[in-house]
Symmetry: C2
Subunit: 193 residues, 2 copies
């Protein structure tokens, strides 16, 4: 009766999900095999299959886990921002679209395009995450969406960050990104003002 099994089970599942996300980051979607995930989690394949009987089950759980982590990461950094300043707010969001977690999410999005099961599970989830992100951005920017063009400008900002994140995939792009964001932030300020 050392460790309650419910807690132990939860901990093991967490380890598996973390390992899945790590594998996605390091080896990409096709490199993320169940065997590798089990190894990385320091678990036997048997234990893995006990918790997640199929690869689909594992990945779907990992997707939710990933979404939660991304949301939390953004929220934490947002909380560390005392004064609503546009430049810093955009910078903060940009970080969320260049980190490893975004990369993992991208791997899953691209894979889901041609994987019916993943896709159907992902679309509603991403819709929710997208709305949350939008809301967060609105708050960060101190934007008033009832004014014309504000809503579109905020969304454009997020989509721009998505694109910059893609451009950052293969080689470090931070210098270019900075100068682009500097200009866009100015434009954004005009719309929000």
């Amino acid at each position: 009766m050392r460790i309650p099994q419910q807690e132990r089970s939860r901990a093991t599942q967490q380890r598996l999900l973390e390992a899945t996300v790590d594998c996605l980051i390091e080896h990409g979607w096709s490199g993320t095999t169940t065997t590798l995930v089990a190894q990385r989690a320091g678990l036997s394949r048997g234990a893995q299959l006990h918790h997640y009987p199929t690869k689909a089950a594992l990945v779907l759980a990992a997707v939710e886990h990933l979404a939660a982590r991304r949301a939390e990461e953004i929220r934490v950094e947002a909380a560390a921002l005392p004064v609503p300043e546009l430049d810093r707010a955009v910078e903060l969001l940009a970080a969320a679209f260049t980190g490893p977690l975004y990369v993992a999410a991208l791997e899953i999005w691209v894979a889901a395009r041609t994987d019916a099961l993943l896709r159907t599970a992902l679309v509603p989830l991403e819709a929710r995450v997208g709305r949350e992100l939008h809301r967060l951005a609105v708050d960060l920017f101190g934007a008033d969406e009832s004014r014309p063009r504000v809503r579109e400008a905020v969304q454009a900002t997020l989509d721009l960050l998505r694109g910059l994140g893609v451009a950052n995939l293969l080689s470090d792009d931070s210098a270019r990104r900075r100068s682009i964001l500097a200009v866009w932030t100015g434009q954004l300020a005009e719309v929000l003002a």
Copy 2:
């Protein structure tokens, strides 16, 4: 002595490369197996291995083929645009970032992130393609890059389109895209004017 073998060879290689791109579009990166490509090209595996001895060779050739096709597609549509009008120009570029060819390119980018061979081959190629695309956009917009913020605005537009393309991966996003681009184009016009 009907068909010169050089021409025949070229034709089969084209078929293989087209089949590779088609497979990328339909089945994604991990679904693109050499066997499937050979089948789709209506060729035996022997013939395939004769032309491209490894999968890496095949894919690298397909990447160049894809880049050429994307560039040509954009150039063709650009030529069909008589008067330089900003709205239409942005629309045209947006189409280039939502079509199947962009999807195929995205599959390769994401895969290249964790595939050293692909990556080293892709980085210089994409740098070139990126410059060409930028140049094309500048021409289409009739932009004067010597003026402040113009260069960044053009690049931001391309990165925004990249991001919108990603958002369009899983579900049709054209309505949202239209409204965002409408606002964006307005902002862009201010910078260019």
